[in-house]
């Protein structure tokens, strides 16, 4: 919802606090998730994530959440889906070029980031979205990725993306994932 989205940005600092704790919990649970099987817990966790983040941030379930680096303003709500905005078309007053009645997602993002403790991560250059991860749980991906950073799996193509965008990976590891993906998290073929 547009209103809650604006609320989330205004309270970016509080959501940041919450997110840091959520993330810690998810990372701590990695061994458990791994034992139960990420493939098995993927569907219910993704469903919960879809509902809560949909309500709060108008989440589009890109599967590669970077909210902590975008002032708690979801970049997938940008009509151009910029991961590094804003574009040059912002209207006077900070309104969107494509949807003139909407505040620019990235004007909000920079404002939100300025309110956050670690908002400086908005300066990281974010990689393009991996469209094959759409619809999957970003929370689980974060717990996998942060845990995997210790193991740093070697996967050539993904490593190149991760290397090309090192800053983003350091702060938002799910933006350039390296850990092995369970098959239920990845959509393949043209049936997207």
């Amino acid at each position: 919802m547009y209103r809650t989205r604006l609320f989330a940005v205004r309270h970016a600092r509080a959501f940041e606090w919450l997110y840091v704790r959520l993330e810690r919990a998810m990372v701590a649970l990695d061994p458990l998730f791994a034992r139960v099987g990420y493939a098995r817990i993927e569907p219910p966790v993704a469903a919960i994530e879809r509902v809560t983040k949909g309500l709060l941030f108008d989440c589009k379930m890109c599967g590669q959440c970077v909210l902590s680096s975008t002032g708690m303003s979801c970049p997938m709500n940008c009509p151009k889906q910029l991961r590094n905005g804003p574009c040059g078309g912002v209207r006077p007053g900070g309104y969107c070029e494509v949807k003139p009645q909407m505040r620019c997602v990235w004007v909000l993002a920079w404002d939100g980031a300025a309110r956050m403790k670690d908002g400086g991560t908005i300066h990281d250059v974010q990689p393009p979205v991996d469209r094959s991860l759409e619809g999957s749980s970003s929370w689980l991906r974060v717990s996998r990725e942060k845990a995997a950073r210790l193991r740093e799996a070697r996967d050539a193509p993904r490593t190149t993306i991760a290397k090309a965008f090192p800053g983003a990976r350091a702060n938002e590891p799910s933006a350039a994932p390296l850990a092995p993906e369970p098959s239920s998290a990845v959509r393949t073929g043209d049936g997207r």
Binding site: C87, V90, H123, V125, P127
Partner: protein
């Protein structure tokens, strides 16, 4: 292919030269800028035609004053001859070109392939853009792509050039030697964050910057002051965008219909009061160029004279920004590195 084979089978085929030391591309624009000279680039109005003669017709009024000619990529989401086609033709004829890539119409697979194709055709400068939304163009029903954005595009081409790999990790045997450019719009919201975003673009790989139209010098001065605080003018060459306005009516139309254009009321008033608005528009453009030249950190100007290309030579000459320098094309060598 050996040199003998080349001579026998394809004598017209240019060699693929590596850039000189200290350069990433060796393009004329890069050399002019690295020599510390004030550069001039100009935007070409792409033809709605398949005739190569129309491309040269459009380039002619720009060629004698521009170090490089920008070929737009369906700007304003309007369909025209492709940037890669125009750049290929003009590069063959020895002109410096800037290949504009917009993320609106093509995904990462198409773009990476086109970058190699452009480099093979001799193109050595590329301007990475996000692109206007499809809604403002002549085919608003088109599907917007936006697979990459201007920053991930910059980083992608830099990876291709410097690491010699596609984003997938596959090797490129001869990487594309491109001088990387990005756009910036210093006079539109969010004004406070524009310099920060420019810093991000430089981090992503931008080596030169072409700004949108600057009609508001005080706002641009504030932008440049912050840019200098961040030390960005030492990491990238900044070319300020200018252009002649035809009339107050045209200026008002641009302001409300073209995304990202900021024209202060004072400029429009001046056009309104002028007996000959077109002359006044030209005068304003010349004055702006002279003022921009004096701002520390401005390395050149980018002239966008949409449908007024015939004025570009006069404007540049009267502004005196080139001093005694004459940008000339190399003899039809078929490549930009010479």
């Amino acid at each position: 292919m050996t040199d003998d084979e080349r001579r026998e089978f394809a004598p017209w085929l240019p060699t693929y030269d590596e850039p000189p030391p200290g350069h990433v591309s060796g393009s004329r624009l890069e050399r002019v800028l690295r020599q510390g000279r004030f550069a001039v680039t100009a935007e070409l109005n792409p033809p709605d035609s398949a005739d190569p003669a129309d491309v040269f017709e459009a380039a002619r009024p720009l060629a004698e004053v521009a170090d490089a000619i920008n070929a737009t990529d369906a700007s304003g989401a309007n369909c025209h001859m492709s940037s890669i086609g125009i750049c290929s033709l003009l590069t063959r004829a020895g002109y410096g070109t800037i290949y504009q890539i917009s993320c609106r119409d093509r995904n990462r697979i198409a773009i990476q392939g086109d970058v190699l194709g452009a480099a093979a055709m001799g193109v050595r400068n590329v301007l990475c853009l996000t692109g206007d939304g499809v809604g403002v163009g002549d085919q608003p029903g088109a599907r917007p792509v936006f697979d990459l954005d201007s920053l991930s595009l910059l980083r992608t081409i830099r990876t291709m050039r410097d690491e010699g790999t596609f984003l997938s990790g596959r090797q490129i045997t001869r990487p594309p030697r491109m001088f990387l450019g990005a756009a910036e719009n210093p006079c539109v919201e969010p004004l406070d964050w524009r310099p920060e975003r420019l810093a991000k673009k430089v981090d992503a790989g931008a080596e030169f910057i072409q700004t949108n139209y600057i009609f508001d010098i005080p706002v641009f001065e504030r932008f440049m002051a912050r840019v200098r605080d961040l030390g960005l003018e030492e990491r990238a060459f900044i070319l300020a965008g200018v252009g002649p306005l035809a009339s107050a009516k045209a200026a008002r139309w641009m302001r409300s219909n073209v995304p990202g254009i900021h024209i202060p009321d004072a400029v429009i008033e001046r056009l309104d009061k002028a007996a000959k608005p077109a002359e006044e528009g030209k005068r304003i453009c010349i004055e702006l160029m002279q003022q921009l030249r004096e701002i520390r950190g401005v390395a050149g100007v980018h002239v966008m004279a949409y449908r007024r290309e015939h004025l570009v030579s006069e404007i540049v000459a009267e502004s005196g920004v080139l001093q005694t320098r004459v940008p000339h094309r190399s003899r039809a060598s078929g490549r930009e590195v010479d």
